[in-house]
Amino acid sequence: MADLRAQVMTRGRPLPQITLDSREFYEAARRGELRFQRCSDCGTWRHYPRPSCPQCLSRSHRWELASGRGRVYTWTIVHGPTLPAFQDEVPYNIVDVLLDEGIHFQSQLLDCPPDEIHADMPVRAVFVPVSEDITLVKFRRAGTC
């Protein structure tokens, strides 16, 4: 984990404020698990967290373990300007991953040169602790360790 932490941790970068709606997500991430809300009645996964299921209007859900597998749906290479705390990283990538569960999740792809990123590229989640309470979910190409 130490090498991963070095890749994404820079002093002064904004971190998530854990809220009543997102607490379970970050607690799971800290344990190395990717969990999202899933409707207890119709089984639909959802992100961002919300209090009812848009498919069936059920108010019941569980925070279920996701596979961590998905494919790159779209991406950008940021050249700047950007937030000053990220300026020293440019050019950096941001990806939207369409997870196998049908959820879109925005993050970054580690260890991948910009010109090798492509649509439908298989990726998997990795967990990067960045503070006492926050572990960020990043991605790597599937098949790499």
Binding site: P14, L15, T19, Y48, T74, T76, V78, F105
Partner: protein, 396 residues
């Protein structure tokens, strides 16, 4: 959607427009610029600012109703409303103004926006001092910012780059298509003395500009400027007796939908089911008009690629065909098949959160544009198409 009728149709009209100069930096407060634009719009209409009894503004506008009372001395502002989501509200403000007039909640409605957003307008951390919001973010982010910003996804143009990339993947849209939009709008700005960017631009110039977030280059992005715009809306009946040829609000529609700062939900919705396409379908259904009836198009051109998507959203071409549609100068006022943003838009004139495009739409109806479309009788004006949004059709 269907059968609701066109209940605000032709009841209200835009009778006054006003603005400040547009510039990279005016060194003035948003309050001060707002009042200048409001006075200019009232003067244009031949009405006193004291006649204003309704206000519709953007919710992020820093000059609020109390500021207006304090500066204008109006005895009463009877109707007040604000639209959410920045650019998504840029035409919704006119829909709300028309609703206020049609229901007689007000007689003279002010719509305005003032922005100190040029780079050199970043004076400090107070929101009233201008500058870019993301340079004032805290170290811990609640709400939706918690999902994007910690990964370095910090600004609209980065989110738009990701949506744009997916359009390229799905439909084969190219950077040449984006360049066509930038060049067409620049050709309009070259004839517009208010425009901030008036140097000639070629396709090659566009391709030579640097990437800010691939696939978007500097010349794909709106410029950042200082300035303010205002419009005065009143009843069509009263408009006949005023100074200017009225721009009649023939139809209007609103729709909730995705927002670009929430990509997980935006990317999960097909564009045909999102806000702009829904607004378009409502407008055509309630007015009985069709895209072929429109003489000029005004859309929220924060990025070249979203002009292409707006053409699809509003039915000027099929989904995915916006790129081919814009080739060969189709958006140019001098002979294009759909003159678009004939002021130069937010890509080349100024970025007043869309309201400068609304002013130009009125000029086209009056016949006073510097890129005038011959016999311009019907224009479509649309707000940002990555937001909950609105649109109107204006007519002579």
């Amino acid at each position: 959607m269907t059968g609701s009728g066109n209940t605000i149709g032709d009841r209200a009209a835009i009778v006054g427009i006003g603005q400040t100069p547009f510039s990279r930096s005016l060194g003035r407060s948003e309050f001060d610029m707002a009042i200048e634009a409001i006075f200019a719009a009232c003067d244009d209409a031949g009405l006193s600012p004291r006649a204003i009894d309704g206000v519709v503004r953007y919710d992020m506008e820093t000059t609020d109703e109390e500021n207006l009372l304090a500066a204008l001395g109006n005895p009463e502002i009877r109707y007040q409303a604000s639209t959410s989501w920045g650019g998504g509200g840029s035409v919704s403000v006119l829909v709300h103004a028309a609703v206020a007039i049609a229901t007689r909640m007000a007689d003279t409605v002010l719509v305005f926006r003032s922005r100190a957003r040029g780079k050199s307008s970043v004076f400090g951390k107070d929101q009233l001092l201008g500058g870019r919001y993301w340079e004032r973010l805290g170290e811990r982010l609640p709400g939706l910012n918690q999902w994007h910003v910690p990964h370095g996804l910090v600004s609209a143009f980065q989110e738009m780059a990701m949506i744009t990339r997916r359009h390229m993947i799905d439909y084969g849209t190219t950077e040449d298509h984006f360049a066509e939009v930038a060049v067409a709008l620049r050709s309009h700005a070259q004839r517009n003395p208010h425009a901030v960017m008036r140097q000639p631009m070629t396709i090659a110039d566009h391709h030579a500009s640097r990437y800010v977030a691939e696939p978007l280059r500097v010349f794909d992005c709106n410029i950042e400027t200082d300035g303010a715009c205002a419009l005065i809306v009143t009843s069509t009946e009263r408009a006949r007796d005023l100074r200017q040829r009225p721009a009649i609000i023939h139809g209007g529609a609103l729709a909730a939908g995705s927002h670009h700062i929430r990509l997980s939900t935006l990317l999960a919705r097909h564009r045909d089911e999102d806000s702009a396409a829904r607004v378009g379908r409502q407008l055509w259904a309630t007015t009985g008009l069709a895209p072929r009836d429109i003489d000029a198009f005004f859309c929220y051109d924060f990025f070249t690629s979203f002009v292409i998507m707006a053409l699809e959203d509003y039915g000027f071409c099929a989904r995915g065909e916006g790129g081919p549609f814009v080739t060969g100068g189709a958006l140019r006022a001098d002979g294009g098949r759909l003159p678009t943003n004939t002021n130069g838009g937010q890509l080349s004139e100024a970025f007043i959160h869309g309201l400068n495009n609304n002013l130009e739409a009125v000029r086209q109806i009056r016949g006073t544009s510097t890129s005038q479309v011959a016999d311009c009788e019907l224009v479509l004006v649309a707000g940002a198409n990555t937001d909950p949004t609105g649109a109107v059709i204006l007519r002579r």
